[in-house]
Subunit: 323 residues, 2 copies
């Protein structure tokens, strides 16, 4: 398919390479005319980048075999509640990047702040989380070291700054042991630390939850080997997951992080963004016993800016994604 | 870790992107100072190319989840004699490219032809292949549709053109059913269609083998799904594997293909190179009953051109490659 008679020739995108400048195009051109345009676009780019990577670092055969073994090991570590390829993507920043690619709302000539940033959904969202009354608590099972927090804010229109009534504020968080309800039946009842709230006429939401605490991802298996190779720790900063939706607005899925968390700049899932931080203030004699108060407003963009916006959970039937 | 306040800014290597231009560097910079220089080089390039791929095609979340599931499926399909990640690499041209990167011998100002091209080793080489006498046959079990071939040539010094005595010419091939001896115990005895030969004083090798015939790689599993998505067939052109070694020369591992094979330009493993083709000539009344004759000379470069050359089989203890 390729020639070896072109030593020293330069191919586009492969400048000055001593390797066959026609090889990558030859592999891409093996695709038949029947390949769908989108598959062709994705696979052409994948092949080009994969080959450029090999050439850029002049990958040795030993290193390539390490890579082959590593890819096999990812799938071998897969279990029902352990999606190893997903974890590896998180560590390499891919889930976070794909989230940005799909959910960034760019508004030209906006006065004031942009819409609240999106960040990764993670694997722990539940479609069955119950609605709770405004001012209610998601803490069904209080851990001994938990810090009860009054969490409140306004969901605002990014253009007008006005509150958005009837928006749905869905939140979930791990307990202080780093586990979510469904993975911790010994300590947590179902829907512990989860709740959906509907904003009032002023667009306000308010509830009681825990100050979120950091936890490590599972440190066995190939994802942990990758962290180790890079000298990185396995910790995620504490975070409260939120998913905010309204029929007339582009929804946002994000995570909110305490501004004093030690892992804010080195999140193992590369999912922290500057505008997603919370400042917790100690309070005394709060009427429901909270020891911390945190206020955070969310800014949503009208759907006119992104009419085709969808959220991952709307398509969360994994079966349809299978090849 | 990254900011979302830089809409429209341009990062190096990410020109004109509407996405955060600092994100990829931030992920790369998570590596600790203790990361070895080579790991840092490889992982930095891997992260850069992976991110550029996602941005270039603006990968959707659905497509990303297809990719996550696909990577998991590769390892799940792994079995003792089925290295699925290796196969996927072959289909994408990666093994062939890595082979070129590692084995290309570039000689400036060479008069005449360059050294014989290298191509992929494949998974069927055996360290236990026996030496046979020059003029012997590797056909222990003749298939009914086999075509006995007299295969001969000279292993030459690429500079002088002179024959190289005492070079080892190791060859192996599948039978006409597409299977190698160890994977076909019902039809083939051990070492069938394999042999090592030592060149004579004139550098000649000569032996009897089969004309190689095309075969399909296993068409179940993720590698076949990838072929299907690209509209590609699963066939490899017929080929004779060779591995030629001599203490004073850069060895070569290659595959030789009949010039009339229908899959020469569309090899599923992307491993054909222009100088690796054989022209078979019909013969009559050959003294040992061959019906075809093929001549092929091999050109080796002195080790002075590549003193650090090694061959994959010298390191073929897979355990040491594990992470």
């Amino acid at each position: 398919m390729a020639t070896n008679s072109s030593n020293g020739a330069n191919g586009a995108g492969n400048k000055g390479s001593k390797f066959d400048p026609n090889f990558t195009k030859a592999v891409i051109d093996l695709m038949s005319p029947e390949t769908t345009p989108r598959n062709r676009e994705i696979l052409s780019s994948l092949i080009q980048h994969l080959h450029d990577f090999c050439r850029d670092v002049e990958l040795t055969q030993d290193e390539w075999v390490v890579g082959v073994n590593y890819v096999n090991a990812i799938g071998q570590a897969y279990q029902k509640n352990r999606n190893e390829a997903w974890r590896v993507c998180d560590i390499l920043g891919v889930e976070s990047l794909v989230d940005e690619i799909n959910h960034k709302v760019v508004i030209d000539h906006l006065e004031g702040l942009p819409p609240t940033s999106s960040t990764i959904l993670g694997p722990f969202w539940s479609s069955e989380t119950p609605f709770r009354e405004l001012g209610g608590s998601v803490i069904q099972d209080m851990p001994p070291d938990g810090q009860k927090t009054f969490f409140h804010g306004v969901i605002r229109d990014v253009d007008t700054g006005k509150g958005i009534p009837d928006a749905v504020f869905d939140m979930w968080q791990a307990s202080t042991n780093g586990k979510y309800d469904t993975f911790d039946p010994e300590n947590q009842s179902r829907h512990n630390l989860r709740g959906k709230f509907r904003t009032d006429e002023q667009g306000r939401f308010y509830l009681y939850c825990l100050k979120p605490t950091e936890y490590a991802i599972d440190t066995s298996g190939p994802s942990a080997d990758l962290l180790s190779m890079m000298g990185r720790h396995p910790y995620r900063p504490g975070h409260i997951h939120i998913m905010v939706t309204h029929p007339d607005y582009v929804g946002v899925t994000a995570q909110l992080y305490p501004d004093d968390d030690q892992y804010l700049k080195t999140d193992t899932a590369c999912a922290v963004k500057e505008d997603l931080v919370l400042h917790f203030i100690p309070v005394k004699d709060e009427k429901n016993g909270a020891t911390l108060d945190v206020e955070y407003d969310i800014r949503l963009a009208s759907k006119k800016y992104k009419p085709d916006s969808t959220m991952l959970m709307e398509n969360a039937n994994q079966n349809k994604f299978k090849l």
